[in-house]
């Protein structure tokens, strides 16, 4: 019966390793705050890049087809207006990504704790098993 419990624990550990192990270990190798900040930075970089591409398309259009408007566009007010839009986008996406990655970290942490608990249990079974002699 003891062996059966051991096998069951080993199955749970193997399933975890196969499904989540590598990904979870990568996540929990960081501190929670550090992980969320790192992910947020990556999201913000993506948002800034996407926004800049759209701005390029827009400015190219004005430069080619509405050159009179294009020249009058290049003012401090325009830059401030676009910067406000970008900041707004960054704030919204930062909120979304913070919630998402905090949740992801917590889930990974929970699963890893459970894995460690089961692993300790397995070690206990190993210690209690009498050595077999051939």
């Amino acid at each position: 019966m003891e062996d059966l419990k051991k096998v069951r624990t080993m199955i749970h550990l193997a399933i975890y390793d196969k499904r989540y192990g590598e990904k979870d270990r990568r996540i929990v190798s960081h501190y929670r705050h550090g992980y969320v900040s790192k992910k947020n930075m990556s999201v913000r970089a993506g948002i800034i890049l996407g926004f800049l591409i759209w701005e390029c398309v827009k400015l190219l259009y004005y430069m080619m087809f509405m050159d009179s408007v294009f020249l009058s566009m290049l003012t401090k007010e325009y830059a401030i207006k676009e910067a406000v839009k970008l900041i707004l986008l960054l704030v919204v996406f930062s909120v979304f990504s913070t919630v998402k990655y905090k949740r992801q970290y917590d889930t990974a942490q929970k699963r890893t704790d459970e894995y460690e608990r089961r692993f300790d249990k397995l070690c206990q079974y190993e210690d209690n098993t009498p050595e077999r002699t051939v």
Binding site: R8, I53, S97
Partner: protein, 339 residues
């Protein structure tokens, strides 16, 4: 209703009996349909070997890949397909697919499947199924993919205009700059002309999803049904008002009667999906109140409706030994130690 629930149980049972195969089949079918829509941008028409090959490739990717890889593949294949019709259109698709991936796809890969589903269901004139489902099962995280899908439908129309104006057959290296500028003009002016409609329709969809989600997460009876009904009413009224004010998008512009039919069918489909999820017996609801040293608990327990299968009576094996009847009991219980 009882017959329907028995049918539901037998379908679920059949699905679970062959779960790996059924799941793969469903994923393949979904991928096949998505990539069939993607392949419609190729110049070969829907009924051709090349289109079929792209669709089958999509099915295979859907079976073996994760949602994020599927989304990225769909974007890449879409760019390639559009390039085969018009190089400028292909470049435009690639740029916007990249922006979409940067700003949403890589953050919420699973929710992005809603985006794909809505674009596909638009072809069947039933795009409202997705916001209704998002309101019940996803919540506010479903707002962005649904709104992005509204944009994508209008964007697809602009891409088709570019393909018509600048086909691949007329492409010349010497005229590349001029053609690119023409494509840019179509793209920017198209997006700007649809932007008001896209924003208005997106706002309606977002309100519908939030209201439905709020009702669904509240402790009321028949929360899913109420959520679907309220979302359906908001969608219909909102879209009609947007149409009257000429702030509409191609994604939802089916006329008043068409919108009504589409919303009603979508609500029915959504209701059926919720029944497959779980059926509750509200007549037998029990409300219990108890407390411990820290909290007072208000518990509302709603039983699920379950119908027993019509099991055939099992034959007992009877042995007659020494004049006594000994009955060997047949048991369904298997050794289930690993569960």
């Amino acid at each position: 209703m009882k017959d329907y629930l028995v049918l539901r149980n037998s379908i679920i049972k059949l699905y679970k009996k062959n779960e790996p195969a059924s799941e793969s089949a469903v994923r393949f079918l979904a991928g096949f349909i998505v990539f069939l829509c993607v392949a419609s941008f190729m110049p070969y028409g829907l009924i051709s070997l090349k289109t079929l090959a792209v669709a089958v490739l999509g099915g295979v990717i859907a079976v073996f890949a994760t949602p994020s890889i599927f989304i990225v593949s769909a974007g890449i294949i879409l760019s390639v397909c559009a390039t085969l019709s018009s190089i400028e259109a292909g470049v435009a698709v690639a740029v916007f697919a990249f922006i979409g991936y940067l700003m949403y796809g890589r953050i919420f890969p699973k929710e992005s499947l809603l985006f794909v589903a809505m674009v596909v269901l638009y072809k069947l004139r039933l795009p409202f199924i997705v916001p209704l489902i998002a309101g019940i099962y996803v919540g506010p995280a479903g707002i962005v993919p649904v709104c992005a899908a509204v944009f994508a439908v209008d964007f697809a129309y602009i891409i088709r205009q570019i393909i018509t104006a600048l086909p691949y057959s007329e492409f010349t290296v010497s005229g590349i700059l001029q053609d690119s500028m023409t494509a840019l003009k179509y793209l920017y002016e198209g997006i700007m002309s649809y932007s008001r409609g896209i924003i208005a329709v997106s706002a309606v969809l977002a309100v519908g999803i939030i209201v439905s989600w709020a009702i669904n997460t509240s402790f009321t009876d028949r929360e899913k049904e109420k959520g679907i009904l309220s979302n359906g009413i908001i969608l219909f009224l909102g879209i009609v008002i947007c149409s009257i004010l000429s702030y509409t998008s191609r994604a939802v512009s089916f006329g008043i009667f068409g919108t009504l039919i589409s919303v009603v069918i979508s609500m029915a489909v959504c209701y059926v999906i919720t029944i497959f999820d779980c059926v509750k017996d509200y007549d037998k609801t029990e409300k219990v109140q108890f407390q411990d040293s820290h909290y007072v608990y208000y518990v509302k327990a709603v039983p699920k409706i379950e119908f027993a299968e019509n099991n055939k009576p099992k034959k007992s094996k009877i042995k007659v030994e020494d004049g006594f009847r000994k009955v060997k009991k047949t048991s369904n219980k298997k050794s289930n130690d690993f569960e």
